[in-house]
């Protein structure tokens, strides 16, 4: 009896200890969660932030003349109950060079029918002026559908950047004629309707002409403005494949495109939210990486001759999350393009965790998910990009988040959990979804800026460096505003104003930039790979026309150098030509032109 009592007391003590451990761990975690109050308290003066982290961010959108506010679309009343969900996307941003002056401009899309997109052209003094109307890119959310994104590259080989505009509806291609854009309409040969969020330019067949990969989200048979059914949603929250069809469009030249999806083997009807292209397996060809909502990520390896292989057995197909963006970057400084795909995390309900994948494909390995800690949980995460914000030669991560910021008292997660478990295709019918009304769904989240402290050890410094807004971030684009040698942020927020964070990097850390001009027709040099070697380390970056979520960063590649000097730079042009620079000067932008 005495033994039993003693044993029970001992077990009770262990129970108490274990419970206390859990409470302490949770309290420690909660104390670090980026709530608004904590973010405000953690913010450092710019000087302190530069001293501690090597940079600080200042939000300067209005000061610079960027006063864009994204307007959400309205859809068919039949799906009014889920309209906040469907209209929860559309805010996109691209850093482009619309007028060919070498300065990055910013193009934002708005989604309400009749709302205007904005093309902020950068003046030499760094200020921006909206010239979308004059240049023919303003009123594009029209009968063809709400705008969802824009992707810029020289599609016709004439040396300037043309633009593809995506809609929940018909996509359109706009040829750049001396800074004015001509809508090519049906002549371009694009699909009549795509209902997509994601696209990228890349050279699929190695002929020098940039081809297009367009991803469908909702099925193309649905006109979301005039629906004849409410069965438009995903049939499942995992492994769903009843989304819109993706398209590979081969560039025939003369701004005409042909659909070669089936022939190339890049069919997918998963709910693709993001796509990016780079050489993932080291064979010199441009591959495709897809992040799919309600499904596993997909990798299509380019086998040449316009044939792709959906790669299996590398750690992708067995895991179904809610892929929101694809960011590619050499975050391990091993020369391979690693992958960051954002997903959803919400206490109590769902910790999917973001995926940070080390790329071992070139050596026959897998895309190993090594995400842990703060990298995993960024809330309901959307757009993300790799970039070296503190110029230390390591690629950091910036992550947008927050889905629907509405009522601060009413939350949709309880309703979401009801539909989220429904089996048997129930979720496909929007009429079965609990109405969202004015509820928030993972709203008012604070963006993350994850500083890479080497070998992918990340720490969140967003509040300290000044990334403190609670807006519903979607696309984020990187560019060097003012040419001062650091990367700045342009952020598109859904239903809210756009932000431009200017990076004020600490002096003393070196940098080097490369503006690449490829041989025609791929003058944008999309797919070019630049490797900078310095102090026994290397960093590889690729020119991408579309990455993250609903965004495109500048085509100019930026490398931080820390206190090292660049010893050698290797440029592998999309044509296969290799160019080497010995000890190029740091602290400046190099214009590299592909030789004959």
């Amino acid at each position: 009896m005495r033994r039993t009592t003693t044993a029970r007391l001992l077990m009770a003590a262990v129970l108490l200890l274990a419970s206390t451990w859990a409470v302490v761990q949770d309290a420690r975690h909660a104390s670090m969660a980026p709530t608004a109050a904590r973010v405000a308290a953690a913010r450092l003066e710019c000087g302190q932030s530069r001293e501690r982290h090597g940079f600080c961010l200042r939000e300067r959108s209005r000061e610079l003349g960027v006063e864009f506010v994204h307007a959400k679309a309205s859809y068919d009343p039949k799906i009014k109950g889920v309209e906040p969900h469907v209209a929860g996307v559309g805010a996109s941003v691209a850093a482009c060079d619309a007028n060919g002056d070498g300065l990055d401009d910013l193009y934002f899309t708005s989604s309400a029918i009749g709302a205007k997109n904005a093309l902020y052209v950068q003046a030499p003094d760094g200020s921006f002026r909206d010239e979308a109307e004059d240049r023919g890119l303003a009123s594009l959310s029209d009968a063809r559908g709400p705008c969802m994104g824009s992707y810029w590259a020289d599609a016709d080989g004439d040396g300037d950047q043309d633009v593809l505009v995506l809609r929940y509806g018909a996509p359109s291609l706009h040829r750049n004629d001396g800074g004015r854009f001509v809508d090519l309409g049906a002549a371009a040969g694009l699909p009549a309707r795509v209902n997509g969020n994601a696209a990228c330019w890349f050279d699929a067949d190695g002929d020098g002409l940039l081809d297009l990969y367009l991803a469908g989200y909702f099925r193309a048979e649905h006109d979301l403005m005039r629906l004849d059914t409410t069965r438009i949603m995903q049939d499942s929250f995992e492994f769903s494949s009843n989304g819109g069809r993706n398209h590979l469009l081969k560039n025939l030249g003369g701004m005409r495109f042909e659909d070669v999806t089936t022939q190339a083997g890049v069919d997918s009807t998963r709910w693709t939210l993001a796509v990016a292209s780079a050489d993932m397996d080291g064979d010199g060809r441009a591959d495709l990486y897809l992040a799919n909502d309600y499904g596993p990520e997909e990798l299509f390896l380019n086998r040449g001759g316009l044939r792709f292989e959906r790669k299996k057995g590398v750690g992708l197909e067995e895991s179904s999350k809610s892929g929101m963006c694809v960011a590619l970057g050499d975050f391990l400084n091993d020369g391979a393009q690693g992958v960051y795909v954002t997903n959803i995390s919400k206490q109590g309900y769902l910790f999917q965790g973001n995926n940070l994948r080390a790329n071992r494909l070139a050596s026959g390995g897998r895309l190993q998910n090594i995400a842990e800690g703060i990298v995993c949980d960024c809330g309901w995460a959307w757009g993300a990009q790799f970039a070296d914000f503190d110029n230390d030669f390591d690629l950091d991560l910036v992550v947008m988040n927050g889905f629907i910021s509405a009522s601060r008292e009413r939350d949709y997660w309880f309703g979401m959990a009801k539909i989220g478990v429904a089996t048997g295709g129930i979720a496909e019918d929007a009429s079965f979804w609990p109405p969202i009304e004015d509820r928030s769904l993972s709203g008012y989240e604070v963006s993350r800026l994850l500083l890479n402290q080497g070998r992918a050890r990340f720490v969140d410094v967003a509040p300290e460096v000044g990334l403190v807004d609670e807006l519903d971030g979607r696309g984020v684009a990187l560019f060097d505003h003012g040419g001062d040698g650091d990367l700045d942020l342009a952020i598109a927020n859904n239903g809210q104003r756009a932000l431009v964070y200017e990076n004020e990097a600490a002096a003393g850390r070196g940098w080097i930039q490369f503006a690449l001009r490829g041989a025609a027709p791929n003058t944008s040099a999309v797919g070019a790979r630049v490797v900078v070697k310095a102090a026994g380390r290397q960093l590889a970056q690729v020119v991408m026309a579309g990455s993250g979520y609903a965004s495109q960063s500048s085509l100019v590649l930026h490398f931080g150098l820390g206190d090292a000097r660049p010893e050698e730079v290797e440029v592998r042009w999309p044509s296969g030509r290799v160019q080497r620079l010995e000890a190029p000067a740091s602290g400046r932008r190099h214009l590299l032109v592909e030789g004959p």
């Binding site: 033994r3 044993a7 029970r8 001992l10 077990m11 009770a12 262990v14 129970l15 274990a18 419970s19 451990w21 859990a22 409470v23 761990q25 949770d26 975690h29 909660a30 969660a33 109950g81 499942s236 929250f237 995992e238 492994f239 769903s240 067995e318 895991s319 179904s320 995390s345 919400k346 206490q347 109590g348 309900y349 769902l350 910790f351 965790g353 998910n369 995400a371 842990e372 995993c376 949980d377 008292e409 009413r410 939350d411 997660w413 309880f414 959990a417 009801k418 539909i419 989220g420 478990v421 429904a422 089996t423 048997g424 129930i426 979720a427 009429s431 079965f432 979804w433 609990p434 009304e437």
Partner: protein
Amino acid sequence: MGPMATTEATAGAGTQDRWPFWARIDPRWYSSTLLTTILVVGQWRHQILGDSYLPWMVALGTAVLAEILSRRALGLPGANFLSAYISGNSVAILLKPQGDLLWPFVVCSLLSILSKHVLQWRGRHLWNPTNLGVCAMLLLAPTQISMLSHQWGNDLAFVALLWLVGAATTLRARVVHISLAWLAAFVAFAGLRAMVLPQASFVGELMPVTGPMYTLFLFFMVTDPKTTVRTKGGQMAVAVLVAACECLVRFACELDLLAATNPLCVAPPMYALFLVGPPALWWSMRNDPRSAAGGARPAHA
């Protein structure tokens, strides 16, 4: 008796000879085998354990170790590996913590196993061990724990397998009436919510029961004979009460009386059983001495 149960019920010796060989097997073997089938098929088809097997191994290892040590400390003979196996697997399936955290699996398995030996009245544990473990975890570490609140694919075949497994197990353990009572009550209360709540639909209110959390709860947790009352009528009444409590929680969450992130809203059936089951068992034992230790209704008697 189901996989969530960690009962030590034994068949009445005098009745065993009347049953064929297959019926004399401890039903926990059925539960364990079928639970293993679910795990293997689920992991193969839908990765129900996540990206790594490590959490599963940690949960299982902790449960087994805790069971061995606690029984040794209490001077009980042998080790109840089946009970630990069931609890460890259940924790691994139900608990979905943030990122790559492993400690929640350790703590939850410890709470599940040790509570069975500590939180007793008249020699019986009042809470279903896994139910107590997961409910406690959501309360102790709300910002880092989530429950199984999503699908395992949209796989009707897999759900059908789960229901078949559940039905077979509960039939075999002669507790299917508990599942049916709870299910009938849940459907009735779903209808009530659909009538009362302006924006609710009957189909919408039924949706949760098609998901894996409710399926596991329905067949493998609410039916635990060791933590329910003795009589068949009483068991059905308790099941209805659990469903009623679940409905009240749902009303509170729907009407924003409870925040969506409140643990009760995250896992309504778990907390309904957590709140209703033990008082019902206590009341039953208080009024019926045969319900006390050793008097529990044999699982297949």
